[in-house]
């Protein structure tokens, strides 16, 4: 096995603490990094949202200029999807999946860290655009020709293209990592059909990431080539085709929305099940339905292009295919309800979010079916109806689900429970604010209000609803503020959480201390069924049965290379925009680090049994 394990250098003080976080390859720490960075970008995206709603509070408002408005909507969408939602999903996947499958870390800890830092520096590159005054303004969908240099000559769209390419590398690496982890690192006895639903959802989501992101990469590269190297992919005068961009973008873009929602489905399954004290109803159906949703998700991309002019045959086929996805989704909703049926439901803050998810997401889903009908979509497309739909599914669905997961797994990540009262206040203000903001937008669209409009004329019937929508947004912001206060207040409390603080934990992560020790499991557990921890508890056991003896635990070494590699890419991003020599230098830094990583093998280090006892394996 590993020939030359060595001890890890740990440095004292603030710089030691910083070095620890910059070099960590521990999935638990990386999860926290994703949560903090994702949270930071979520706040930025949220401020952008507030500015949008403030501008639209009344007709012909001049809170921001039209140019700035287009920049704000572009950055809001891009930041929220790529830099807030996805990272927080990765945060929970990192924090939870290895624990749920009884593993000590992910398959590629170094790559895991690399995935985080590339995401972070890609996001940083994109948001630095605000500081330069050259901000992308062609929408998060960046359709050409508006996004080409002919109509967007400043560097805004370049920041978009380069920032997302770098961030996208991180996502792809994360997807590969979790697929390999779930395939290869499950504890003995954990067959695929004994995995928790969140792990299943993570697995399928990772597969979606692996197959969807490369399409985005090609699109972004083609646009970069057009903008920076005078290529002609999207230059109509040189034989290019703007509809090609739409195809490539949505080939990625549609699976992306399933990447966003499937983890939330996984969270809901876990939280509802735990707080009903019942196993998930129809587990195998749920697994199958999730796989079907992912598979179908690759077949429906052109429903974003019904008005582009693809013709009736294409429109009809994509309509039917899109409607089909409602079936497995509906199956999941009923299985959640039947999980609660006959159960003993406890209304914790986490469970409130999970329960709130169900009707909200169903509303988003049904407007999705409405949009699926191409002839009707001729009216809905590019109007506020669509804006309402996707916010219902992404914010009312995904973000609500993330709040459920964050409240649920906070003790496992941080050793403390978030304050329940504040959590419930967050839930009510955020949820009511959400519905106030977005429900009226369905009607705005149907009354004839297009989307991405910096303002609107008076006397069209839009005024009152826009006002209501803005008030709702302010209420949502208040809810988020309450959550932030909750986080701060909680962090000041001592770490008192037990290993199974909700008392009804069903899955493996609740069998170990909160927060989890560095090595996760002192002994890899033996899995004897679905809901492995619950099974042991019901048989009167206080611990999992071990699948191996106590012994030295081999851990991967921390490394600064992921950080440096990401800095190299970051530098090259600027280089591509301003100076190609700098681009070369940035890429050279990254390649050098790859070479170093290849040449200097990491043999890791060991945590000896004596150290394990000291780190405190507290029985349940």
């Amino acid at each position: 096995m590993a020939a030359h394990a060595h001890t890890v250098k740990r440095y004292p003080g603030f710089w030691g603490w910083l070095w620890d976080w910059l070099t960590t390859v521990d999935h638990k720490k990386i999860g926290i990094l994703y949560l903090v960075a994702g949270g930071f970008f979520f706040v930025i995206g949220g401020i952008e949202a507030l500015f949008i709603r403030l501008q639209l509070i009344r007709p012909l408002n001049d809170f921001v200029s039209e140019d700035t408005f287009n920049e704000i909507i572009t950055m809001h969408g891009t930041t929220m999807i790529f830099l807030a939602a996805m990272p927080i999903i990765f945060a929970l996947m990192n924090a939870v999946v290895p624990l749920q499958i009884g593993a000590r870390d992910v398959a590629f800890p170094f790559v895991n860290a690399l995935g985080f830092w590339t995401f972070f520096f890609g996001g940083l590159l994109l948001n630095i655009a605000w500081l330069t005054g050259e901000v992308p303004d062609a929408g998060w969908t960046a359709y050409p020709p508006l996004s080409t240099t002919a109509y967007s000559s400043h560097h805004g769209v370049d920041y978009f293209v380069l920032g997302l390419q770098i961030s996208g590398i991180g996502s792809l690496l994360g997807g590969i990592n979790f697929m390999a982890t779930i395939i290869n690192l499950r504890a003995p006895g954990m067959t695929f059909m004994r995995m928790p639903m969140f792990t299943w959802a993570s697995f399928i989501t990772s597969a979606l990431i692996v197959f969807a992101f490369p399409a985005l990469t090609v699109g972004l590269v083609a646009m970069m080539f057009d903008r920076i190297f005078a290529a002609n992919f999207f230059d109509v005068n040189a034989g290019g085709n703007i509809v090609l961009w739409e195809h490539i973008f949505w080939l990625f873009g549609h699976p992306e929305v399933y990447i966003l929602i499937l983890p939330a489905f996984g969270i809901i399954s876990e939280v509802i099940s735990t707080f009903s004290r019942k196993r998930l109803f129809g587990y195998s159906t749920m697994v199958f339905a999730t796989i079907l949703i992912a598979f179908l998700g690759f077949m429906v991309w052109a429903h974003h292009m019904f008005t582009t002019g693809l013709g009736p045959v294409a429109n009809a086929i994509f309509s039917i295919a899109t409607m089909a996805i409602a079936v497995p989704t509906g199956i999941k909703v009923f299985n959640w309800l039947l999980t609660m049926w006959g159960g003993s439901i406890r209304f914790t803050a986490a469970n409130l979010f999970a329960i709130g998810f169900i009707p909200t997401f169903v509303m988003g889903g049904v407007t999705g079916v409405m949009l699926a009908s191409a002839p009707a979509d001729f009216q809905y497309h590019d109007s506020y109806f669509v804006v309402a739909h996707f916010h219902y599914t992404i914010v009312g669905g995904l973000v609500t689900g993330l709040f459920a997961g964050i409240h649920y797994w906070w003790p496992k990540m941080f050793g403390r429970m978030l304050h329940e009262g504040l959590g419930k206040l967050t839930f009510w203000t955020y949820m009511i604010g959400f519905h106030l903001t977005f429900f009226v937008q369905h009607f705005l669209g149907l009354l004839g209000m297009p989307r991405r409009v910096a303002t609107y004329l008076p006397n069209q019937g839009f005024d009152t609803m826009n006002l209501v929508s803005t008030i709702g947004a302010i209420l949502m912001a208040f809810g988020i503020l309450v959550f932030i206060i909750n986080v701060v207040v909680t962090s000041l409390k001592p770490r008192h959480a037990t290993n199974d603080p909700w008392e009804d934990g069903r899955t493996l992560e609740w069998a170990i201390p909160s927060p989890a020790p560095e090595y996760n499991f002192k002994q890899i557990p033996l899995i004897r069924g679905l809901d492995a921890w619950w099974k042991e508890k019901m048989e009167g056991n206080k611990e999992m049965k071990p699948a191996e003896p106590v012994g030295p635990i081999h851990m991967p070494s921390p490394s600064i290379l992921p950080f440096i590699m990401s800095v190299g890419l970051f530098i090259s991003g600027f280089g591509f925009m301003y100076n190609l020599v700098v681009a070369g230098i940035g890429l050279a830094i990254t390649l050098m680090c790859m070479m170093l990583r290849s040449v200097f093998d990491d043999h890791g280090y060991h945590i000896e049994p004596e150290e394990q006892k000291k780190k405190g394996e507290v029985p349940a």
Binding site: A180, I183, T217, N232, G240, N241, S598
Partner: protein
Amino acid sequence: MSAHEHAGALPPEPEKATLEGRNKILGFWLFLGAETVLFGTLFSAYLAFRNSTLDGPKPEELFQLPMTFIMTVALLVSSLTSVFAVQAMHRHKTGPMLGWMAVTIALGAVFLGLEIYEFNEYAHEGHRFTTSAFSSAFYSLVGFHGGHVAFGILWIGLLILQILRKGLTVVTAPKVYVSAIYWHFIDVVWVFIFTVVYLMGKV
């Protein structure tokens, strides 16, 4: 550690003997899945622009099948030699393994050299990256592939040096195996390029 025979201590399939090795192989196959979608998208773009040559030379006028055929043979044979390298690895014969790896990247360099010559010719004939949508798509697809070949040559070259230093172990074996899978992949992509771009371009 010497570079020569490391008899006895190595298991039959050294690349799969450790969990790390098996993880690397699985992870790499998944990465190739992503690369398949990447090249697939590039192919789609190319097919969309096959006829958008504007004033530039058309595919029938440009492509020189004899030279492209030689490039194809070089790459196909290099795939074969990389198979031999892995077979040598399984027999724990480090010397022959390194030899076959060297032949592999030599053939890869031949391929790349000819491709650079080819692009140079095209540039003189008025077929440049910026000429038309067709040319942008052509150079992006074929150029990305060439970039992959170049990276592969550097990677396998680096591995040869590493193994000369560290020898064939359960740590270095997975690297060889994975690089061989990579090399086969770019060979398969080339077969598609040869067919879709060059052969179909001449029709």
